[in-house]
Each structure stands twice: as structure tokens, then as C-alpha cells.
């Protein structure tokens, strides 16, 4: 007869996700897509941080003797209509591309996780109000919603990032809420409450570590579309203000000179596609590593 109660035997959350620690990075490097994605991303982060020293020219300095000059030894990817070096501007633009992707996804994730945990933990009216309002946001196509947000907030780098963060928060809230609900049904959770642990401590110590791993996977998968959404906004003229170089913006300008200076398109387009590919592949790799049970590669894009 077993009379001893199972105190101290912590029932584990389903071992579906592991917290990202060092083995996580090792697994990511072993994943063939992950290694490629990390390498490309590291390259762009390097450009973003140290581009100032790497770039051959000042990204905003115009060379009046070389307006719209084709690719040459002095300017590898040519110059634009103001005589600014395309390569330098692309390098400078990587700061914006990387920064916006990370910041908007992180802000969206933080907001979504807080909302999701509150909704999942407290339930009741809070849950249904949050759910309803999130449903409305969730129903809308990403880019359209982001454009409407920027329309209302006004164009600009900060507003565009903010709009993307707002647009991305519901998906994080959904995932956090679902995980929070499942955590609530576990015995260790009841044990903590019965032991008199306060609500804030429970939320931070017991809820958050369980909620984070699936949310991190989602964040990794969202990076590429967030970057794309920002590039689209910037292409539409809703991103950074003029002198600052930015890939979407550069492509939009290049469009005006497409017949006389086709080289203006090559460099920003290549950078954009390469970074997106890296984010895509890396997102899949993070999911494969953290969530090995997931199979199949099909996932739908949210923006064009």
C-alpha cells in the first residue's frame, strides 16, 4: 500500500520544449539550415554593428562627380541619383533591417506574453475581453493592418516598428495563453499555490519558464515576415525618413530609375532576399531543435 503522498515529486510539464541553453546553440549549429542561417545573420549583425568602419564611403555623402554611375572599381554597385555609394548605403541599411526585425518582434512578444499569461491565468472576464479584442486584430492580414496602423500613427521608423509589434502581438498572446492554461492544470502548480507562493512569484517562477520556449519558436518563425513587413512599409514610403538608408526605401527609389540605372536594384534586393532567407531557414531550424515532434515544412506566408 502506498500511503506517502507525492509531495516533492514535481510532475514535469510535457517535455515537448526545452529551455534554450547551451545545448540549444550546439544543436542549432549541427542543423544544416541553422548553421547557414546563423552565419548569414551573424554577417548582417556584424555589418549592422561595425558597418561604419567596413563601408567604403559615408552612406549619406554625395559625390557630385559620380551621379548614377554604373558599377565600377570605385563604386562596386554603382551610385544613386545623388551620387551616394549603393554598397555603403546597403551596409548602413542593415542596421535598420536587423534592428527593426528584432525590436518589433521582441516588443510584440513581450506584450503578447504578458497579455496571454494574464488571460490564461486569471480567466473569466479578463480572458474574454482580451480574447475578443485580439480576435479582431488577428482576423486582419498582417501588411494591411500594419499599413492602417501606420496610417493612423503617422509614418516613421518608430511608428512602423510599433505597428508591426502591435500586429504581431496577438499570435504570441494566443500561444502564451494556451500554454498558461495547460500549466494551470498541472500538480506542481497547485502545490506551489497550496504552499502559499504569491501570485507574482507563481507567474514569474512557474508560468514564464513554461510559456517561453514555444513563444521563442514562434518569435524565430516571425522574424522573416516581420522584416518583410517592415521592408514593405519602407518601400511604400512609410518607414524611415529620407537621408537614412534603408533597403525598402532604396528599392522604391531605384524603381524610378529602373531604365537608366538598373544596378541600383541589385544590391538592396540581394541583401533583402538573403536576410529573409536566413531568417526563414533559421526559424525552421529553431523550431526543429526546440520542437522535434513537429514534422513537415509547409507553412503559409503572412505577407507578400
Amino acid at each position: 500500500m502506498n500511503t506517502s503522498p507525492d509531495i516533492g515529486v514535481v510532475s514535469k510539464a510535457p517535455a515537448r520544449f526545452r529551455l534554450p541553453r547551451v545545448p540549444f546553440l550546439r544543436d542549432l549549429f549541427r542543423h544544416k539550415g541553422g548553421a547557414f542561417g546563423l552565419a548569414v545573420l551573424a554577417f548582417f549583425i556584424f555589418l549592422a554593428l561595425f558597418g561604419h568602419w567596413v563601408a567604403p564611403y559615408d552612406p549619406n555623402a554625395s559625390d557630385m562627380k559620380a551621379l548614377l554611375s554604373p558599377p565600377s572599381e570605385a563604386h562596386w554597385f554603382g551610385t544613386d541619383v545623388l551620387g551616394r555609394d549603393t554598397l555603403s548605403r546597403v551596409i548602413d541599411g542593415s542596421r535598420i533591417a536587423i534592428g527593426v526585425a528584432f525590436i518589433s518582434v521582441s516588443v510584440g512578444m513581450a506584450v503578447g506574453v504578458v497579455i496571454g499569461i494574464i488571460a490564461g491565468y486569471f480567466g473569466g472576464i479578463v480572458d474574454s475581453i482580451l480574447n475578443r479584442s485580439q480576435d479582431i486584430l488577428f482576423a486582419f492580414p498582417t501588411l494591411l493592418l500594419a499599413i492602417i496602423m501606420v496610417a493612423v500613427l503617422g509614418p516613421g521608423l518608430v511608428n512602423a516598428s510599433l505597428a508591426i509589434a502591435i500586429v504581431y502581438s496577438p499570435r504570441f498572446a494566443r500561444m502564451a495563453r494556451a500554454t498558461a492554461l495547460s500549466v494551470k492544470s498541472h500538480e506542481y502548480f497547485d502545490a506551489a499555490r497550496l504552499a502559499g507562493v504569491g501570485t507574482p512569484v507563481i507567474l514569474v517562477r512557474h508560468m514564464l519558464p513554461n510559456v517561453l520556449p514555444p513563444v521563442i519558436v514562434l518569435a524565430a518563425l516571425s522574424m522573416s515576415t516581420a522584416q518583410l513587413a517592415y521592408a514593405s512599409l519602407s518601400f511604400l514610403g512609410l518607414g524611415v525618413s529620407p537621408p537614412q538608408a534603408d533597403w525598402g526605401n532604396m528599392l522604391s527609389k531605384a524603381r524610378d530609375f529602373i531604365t537608366v540605372a538598373p544596378w541600383l536594384v541589385i544590391c538592396p534586393a540581394a541583401a533583402l532576399v538573403l536576410l529573409m532567407l536566413a531568417f526563414n531557414v533559421l526559424g525552421d531550424a529553431v523550431r526543429d531543435v526546440l520542437d522535434p515532434r513537429h514534422t513537415g515544412s509547409g507553412r503559409a506566408p503572412e505577407t507578400l
Binding site: I147, G154, V265, A269, A300, P301
Partner: protein, 313 residues
């Protein structure tokens, strides 16, 4: 059935109301409203500001303004743009057909091309044809639509200058030129949309092709083509149609970008112009039209579902 329709319509109306209220409220609350755009920031006295505010009705409380705006909008009157001085409704009436034409053409084109391609990929799953199809998919997921558009513009203007008409010509002026002006925008947006349809059809078909009734049909001697295109497609159809509703949302976002690339005078371009000139009444109106289009297509899809899938009735 009638109850289901009613429920869906109520839900759609609720979403539209919420979106319109949100857009209207946010447009009204941000600092630097219409008055400062019209009067100009410097040199205007407080009386002038108050006068303009009164003329625009901005001195009334927000909910009152919203209700009166909504009442007018329901009758098709969105007011007059303070920037262009034209009636917003008449601008919309010119812009909507352009966008609608492009959206409809895209959906038709992508379905005609994507459906058989997806079936083909599913039937040849994990063989060479399938890999080619999926390779194209990976490419489209990583190439933004505006890059596709610009590349097409580059190739078109360089190698086929006569083939592509770049600036927009209305149908009523010259049908041939109109078709030529629509080719490139259509190709640009149809490319990724077709790829998505293809992927969706492939997935839905793969699931169905393993069902027992397919084996039964094959065993019964039904011709392979007939099995693929009739038996399997018929039961793979409901998720595909649902997906087209989802796709429409992506298409709307893409329309804005494509109209900007090819200077099509559609709704998306109208919205962007309005954003850049801070023409809030116009922004609100175009945003509402987009929201309406998105909600409407999803209601239609939801209502089609029980027709396609008898189990849902």
C-alpha cells in the same frame, strides 16, 4: 442554415463596427489633427483654429462625431476630403474598380494555374516534379513582392519595351492598352499567390489521396485522371476554398504594394497618397473599404463551406 447565415453576418457587422470605431478614434486622437494641416502650424491665431474646428465639426465630442460619420458612411457619403477638396465617395468610386479588377484577375489566374499544378505536385509527391514545384515555393517565400515587381519592370522595360505598357490606361479609353497595362501588375502579384494556392492544394490533396475511398475507386477501375480530378479534388475542396479566403487578405496587402510599383490608380495608392498628405477622412474611408472587402470575402467563404462539405450542414 438561416441561423448560421445570420450568426456569421452579425459577427461580420461586429468586426466592421469595431474596426471602423478603432480607425476613427485613432485618427481623431493623435496630435496634429486636420486643423493644423489646414490652417498651418505657424501664424494662425487661436480664433482661426477654433473656426476651422467648428467648420469641420471637430468641436463636438468624439462619440457624437463617430455616430454621425458612421451614419453618413452607411449611405455612401464619406464627406469631402479637406486636402483634395473632392468628395471622397467619388474618388473611391474611381479607385475601387481598378483594385477589384486586379484582385479578381489574380484570384482567377492563380486558381486556374495553381489548382492543376497543386494536384500534379500531390500526385507526384516527392518526385522530381514535386521538388521543382516546392523549389519555386521556397523562392517565393523569400522574395518580397516588390522585388519581384521591380525585377519584372527591369526585364520588361529592357527586353520587351513594346509588350508592356507601364502606365495605366482605363478600359473605356483603349481596351488593348488597358490589358497591356494590367499584364505586369497581374504577373507580379499572381506569381506568389499562385505558389500559395499550389502549396495548399498539394497539402489538401495529399491528405485525401490516402483515404480508403480513393483506393476503392481505383480498385473499382475508375480511370486515374478521374480519381485525381473528380473524386479526390471534390473532397479536398472545402479546405482549399477556406484558404482562398485567407489568401484574399494577403492579396489585399499585396495590392497596395503592386499599385504603388506600377502606379495603378487603385484603392491602395489612394490610401498611401492620403497617408502622406495626412488626409485622415480619406485614410479612414479607404481603410474601411479594405476591411469591408476582407470581412465580406470571409463571410462568403464561411457560407460556401456547408455547401461544399455536407458534413457541416
Amino acid at each position: 442554415m438561416a441561423r448560421l447565415i445570420l450568426k456569421r453576418l452579425m459577427g461580420a457587422v461586429f468586426v466592421l463596427l469595431a474596426v471602423s470605431a478603432l480607425v476613427f478614434a485613432m485618427g481623431s486622437l493623435i496630435p496634429g489633427d486636420l486643423t493644423s494641416v489646414i490652417v498651418g502650424q505657424e501664424g494662425a491665431t487661436d480664433e482661426q483654429f477654433a473656426e476651422v474646428r467648428r467648420r469641420l465639426g471637430l468641436d463636438r465630442p468624439l462619440p457624437v462625431r463617430y455616430v454621425s460619420w458612421l451614419g453618413n458612411a452607411l449611405t455612401g457619403d464619406f464627406g469631402t476630403s479637406p486636402i483634395t477638396g473632392r468628395a471622397i465617395a467619388s474618388d473611391l468610386a474611381q479607385q475601387i474598380p481598378v483594385s477589384l479588377e486586379l484582385a479578381t484577375l489574380t484570384l482567377v489566374f492563380s486558381t486556374i494555374l495553381g489548382l492543376p499544378a497543386g494536384i500534379l505536385a500531390a500526385v507526384h509527391a516527392n518526385r522530381r516534379l514535386d521538388f521543382i514545384v516546392r523549389g519555386i515555393l521556397l523562392f517565393t517565400f523569400s522574395v518580397p513582392i516588390f522585388v519581384i515587381g521591380i525585377l519584372l519592370l527591369l526585364v520588361g522595360s529592357r527586353y520587351f519595351p513594346g509588350m508592356f505598357q507601364v502606365s495605366y490606361v482605363p478600359w473605356s479609353e483603349d481596351p488593348m492598352l488597358h490589358i497591356r497595362s494590367m499584364i505586369m501588375p497581374l504577373l507580379t502579384i499572381a506569381f506568389p499567390i499562385t505558389a500559395m494556392t499550389m502549396q495548399m492544394v498539394r497539402g489538401a490533396m495529399l491528405e485525401v489521396l490516402h483515404e480508403p475511398f480513393i483506393t476503392t475507386a481505383r480498385a473499382g477501375g475508375v480511370r486515374e485522371r478521374r480519381v485525381e480530378y473528380l473524386h479526390a479534388l471534390r473532397s479536398a475542396l472545402p479546405p482549399i476554398v477556406t484558404f482562398i479566403g485567407f489568401q484574399f487578405g494577403i492579396l489585399l496587402g499585396g495590392l497596395i504594394v503592386v499599385e504603388q510599383i506600377f502606379s495603378l490608380p487603385g484603392l491602395g495608392r489612394g490610401m498611401l497618397d492620403a497617408i502622406n498628405t495626412r488626409d485622415y477622412p480619406m485614410v479612414t474611408a479607404t481603410a474601411l473599404v479594405f476591411a469591408f472587402a476582407f470581412v465580406a470575402i470571409n463571410v462568403i467563404v464561411d457560407l460556401l463551406y456547408p455547401l461544399l462539405d455536407p458534413r457541416q450542414r
